[in-house]
Symmetry: C2
Subunit: 268 residues, 2 copies
């Protein structure tokens, strides 16, 4: 029993955006070990076909399962949108994903039932958020918008730059015209734009960031399954990536909010 | 002899930007067959490490050599910047690359010797353009600037959008302050921004697009080697990619300037 509860949580993303989920996990579950996998050689996934995303996702899942994890967290909206089912079919290890978490909060937050969702091209065209929200809130009206420029803008570090603000105003215009009261940040890069986005949409719109909710769900699930790590020591964390590109550390630490541990490299 | 001259030219890029080189080749060498390879599953290369770029480049070269080509054209500045040497060491088939071509025109164009170069992060930090220009024009002064936002802006189709213009003014300010008279578009995506960029830099700066020069060099080289395809018939072209992402056809046809043939998919 204790053996399994001492295993790490496997968190994975197409790149480093999923470190925003790790950050929330470390705050809510300070005794848990985390094994983070970022497919930095093949990032971004948001513009790839669904078949390729599923194939890559399962390759990552198999790697994490070999390393022994007690919980898998899909910290990438694009993978969650098109590969969550295939991932759950692959293993008996429990699987949480950021879309499930985002949908839960959005449905609980909206008063008018008009919910905006922003994400990558693939996430938005998958319709995963619409389907998830409709299951919980049948009368809701979802207005979604792909925002392909937001990921490169975050990686450029232009978090509150005139270019980013102008881009946001253009992307968000249809959502504001539809009078949404809730806006789901459907990509792990977007929380870094949160202050600027809140400014553009105004105080009447509630922004939903799935990282916090994913961490709360992880805590609840591990508690229910008796899998919380009991040891009150500083846990070891691992970060595994498929490439160490330029500016990796600087961008990663922006997401994580603190220094990164040593980086391990696997090459496929 | 005729057997070898009838072989296709292998043109490759990390994605679909290299189709701007194909477009120039088709204009200057209308009887040549072209086999285009775009690594669309792993695009973009411009933010990956040099080791990964070299490994991927050689995998593509091996694939094209198996298909039998008479000439290889590296239609990607990032691959040319870090993998050209490794590629030339791999084969006796002649190899042209877009950086060599761009350097040649830039050195011939500048009057003041002050040359600006823009490209991806990896291309710019490789210093490949500086080294190439200095070999031809020892006293030249190179001012280079990575422009990571330009590729996503082109793929979003915002070719002359206020966001793109604002981004260009920011990136190009140091080059204009250095009073360059020549600006090398060191990425195959950038020719699509040419009218807007010309407007931002003003008429005193000459823009250098390496696609046209690469095609001229290919014609000269095939002539010298006696490898021009003599058959005056409409040649077959092939387009091979590693993924068919959303909007692939629309974006590809924007680069090529005409409809794409049927797409072949290989999965690695």
């Amino acid at each position: 029993m204790t053996a399994r509860s001492a295993l790490p949580i496997g968190v994975f993303d197409s790149g480093i955006g999923g470190l925003t989920v790790v950050r929330a996990l470390q705050q809510q579950l300070p005794y848990e070990r985390i094994l983070y996998f970022g497919d930095t050689a093949r990032v971004p996934y948001g513009v790839k076909s669904s078949d390729t995303i599923r194939q890559y996702s399962l390759q990552i899942v198999d790697f994490l399962l070999e390393q022994q994890v007690k919980l898998l967290i899909v910290a990438c909206n694009t993978m969650a949108a098109v590969a969550a089912e295939a991932i759950r079919a692959r293993t008996t290890v429990p699987v949480l994903d950021v879309i499930e978490a985002g949908v839960e909060v959005a449905a609980a937050t909206t008063r008018t039932g008009r919910i905006g969702v922003i994400g990558t091209l693939t996430t938005i065209s998958s319709g995963a958020y619409e389907q998830g929200v409709r299951r919980r809130h049948a009368k809701s009206q979802i207005v979604s918008q792909a925002c392909p420029m937001f990921v490169p803008l975050v990686e450029e570090g232009w978090l509150d730059h005139p270019v980013t603000r102008l881009t946001a105003r253009e992307y968000l215009a249809p959502l504001l015209a539809a009078d949404v009261d809730t806006l789901v940040l459907g990509c792990t890069h977007y929380p870094l734009l949160q202050p600027m986005l809140q400014d553009v949409v105004g105080p009447a719109v509630t922004l939903v960031d799935s990282a916090e909710t994913t961490a709360s769900r992880a805590r609840a699930l591990l508690t229910d399954l008796g899998l919380l790590n009991p040891a009150a020591i500083d846990p070891l964390h691992r970060v595994v990536v498929t490439d160490v590109p330029q500016r990796f550390r600087a961008i990663g630490e922006r997401f994580l909010g603190k220094p990164l541990p040593e980086i391990e490299l696997v090459q496929w």
